[in-house]
């Protein structure tokens, strides 16, 4: 009986040490891994190096680095957002289809299909997606990407009452559709 209790204590101690290691030691390691590779084993293009850059913003405070001249800023060319038909793929991917006019996009949203607004200007994309959704379906809400939809899920608008189905996705600086 004593030996059984002793073995049980050994196992209990081991479980607690694993628990401690998992809770306190492994998260930084997993953070490094997850910043480049998601839990499905794919390279995460949604991060695309930008998230690592933002997470390491305060890193250089203690290191003295020589001043470097900023690179020349290319002239900004204003290009309006473009609307495409969208289909949903695995792992949250939004596939970009044929190009649409605003009127076509509104009709497509009324029928419950998906659209995606693409372009380099995130604010313009958002405004256009919201305008199309509002024209088509009235009061709308914006949903950020949800984790269970997949790594590549995009921000979108949809009707407040969730009918008709479908979404008005829009491209951001970090997440875009699959061409």
């Amino acid at each position: 009986m004593d030996s059984k209790r002793r073995y049980a204590n050994y196992i209990w101690g081991a479980v607690r040490w694993i628990d401690l290691a998992w809770a306190h030691l492994l998260p930084p390691v997993r953070l490094i891994i997850l910043s480049g590779v998601n839990r499905w084993g794919e390279i995460a293009p949604c991060l695309d190096g930008r998230l690592e850059a933002t997470m390491g913003e305060g890193k250089g405070d203690s290191e003295a680095s020589p001043p470097v001249a900023p690179p020349p800023v290319p002239p900004v060319v204003a290009s309006p957002p473009v609307v495409h038909l969208a289909t949903l793929g695995p792992n949250g991917w939004v596939h970009r289809g044929e190009m649409l006019t605003i009127a076509q996009a509104t009709d497509i949203r009324r029928s419950g299909q998906d659209i995606v607004v693409c372009g380099p200007n995130e604010a313009a994309n958002r405004s256009m997606a919201r305008a199309i959704e509002t024209t088509a379906n009235g009061t709308v809400v914006e949903d950020p990407p949800h984790i269970n939809a997949g790594t590549h899920a995009m921000a979108h608008f949809h009707p407040r009452r969730r009918t008709p189905a479908g979404h008005s996705f829009f491209e951001t600086t970090r997440r875009g559709p699959f061409s």
Partner: protein
């Protein structure tokens, strides 16, 4: 060594109602900053979730990867040892009167207007009472008649024996904290 991994009685830790409200702001700058914060929180939550995904509780792991976003809440029910009480869709608030050691169920549906409708149920075995946090001030008024699942977080509170907490943000702005030990999940298509 303390076996407690997380603090149970807090609201949403990553996908907070306040952050969701900021994303829906009319101001593009506020919304853009909130979206970046949301994506950072998503990475942080994935790290937390990895603690759960390695555990042998298959139903909990399945729940962690199951998407209930935008599902409509059809009802909730609670059963104590000697009493059964069913609350309907318009009476969800009654389900906050739960005690520990009972069973708690939530029913969801989606796509009834099309041919792809399905029903889902989550049945929890509780270790503490279910808590419903009221919506914060300034929450988007989505109407009380239809409540939808927005975002959820799974949290491991105790490792041995395992105690979890499921935090769910609904479209009416309430956050439901469901402390559970085990879970049964059903999912079926409606013909």
């Amino acid at each position: 060594m303390n076996n407690v991994i997380s603090q149970p009685q807090t609201g949403m830790r990553f996908f907070t109602p306040e952050l969701y409200s900021r994303i829906n702001s009319e101001d593009d700058l506020i919304s853009s900053a909130a979206r970046l914060e949301w994506e950072r929180n998503e990475v942080a939550y994935k790290i937390e979730l990895d603690k759960i995904l390695i555990l042998p509780d298959k139903s909990v792991v399945a729940l962690a990867s199951f998407c209930l976003h935008d599902c409509r809440v059809l009802g909730s029910s609670y059963q104590a040892r000697h009493e059964a009480k069913y609350t309907t869709e318009g009476d969800i608030a009654d389900s906050r009167r739960t005690t520990s050691r009972g069973m708690y169920a939530l029913e969801f549906g989606r796509g009834f207007h099309s041919n792809r409708g399905y029903l889902s149920s989550l049945i929890y075995r509780l270790w503490a009472p279910v808590t419903v946090l009221e919506p914060q001030e300034g929450w988007l008024d989505e109407g009380p008649s239809q409540v939808f699942w927005l975002y959820d977080e799974l949290d491991l509170i105790w490792l041995t024996p395992r105690h979890y907490i499921h935090r769910i943000l609904f479209s009416d702005g309430t956050v439901r904290l469901i402390p559970f030990r085990s879970l049964l999940m059903t999912d079926g298509h409606v013909l």
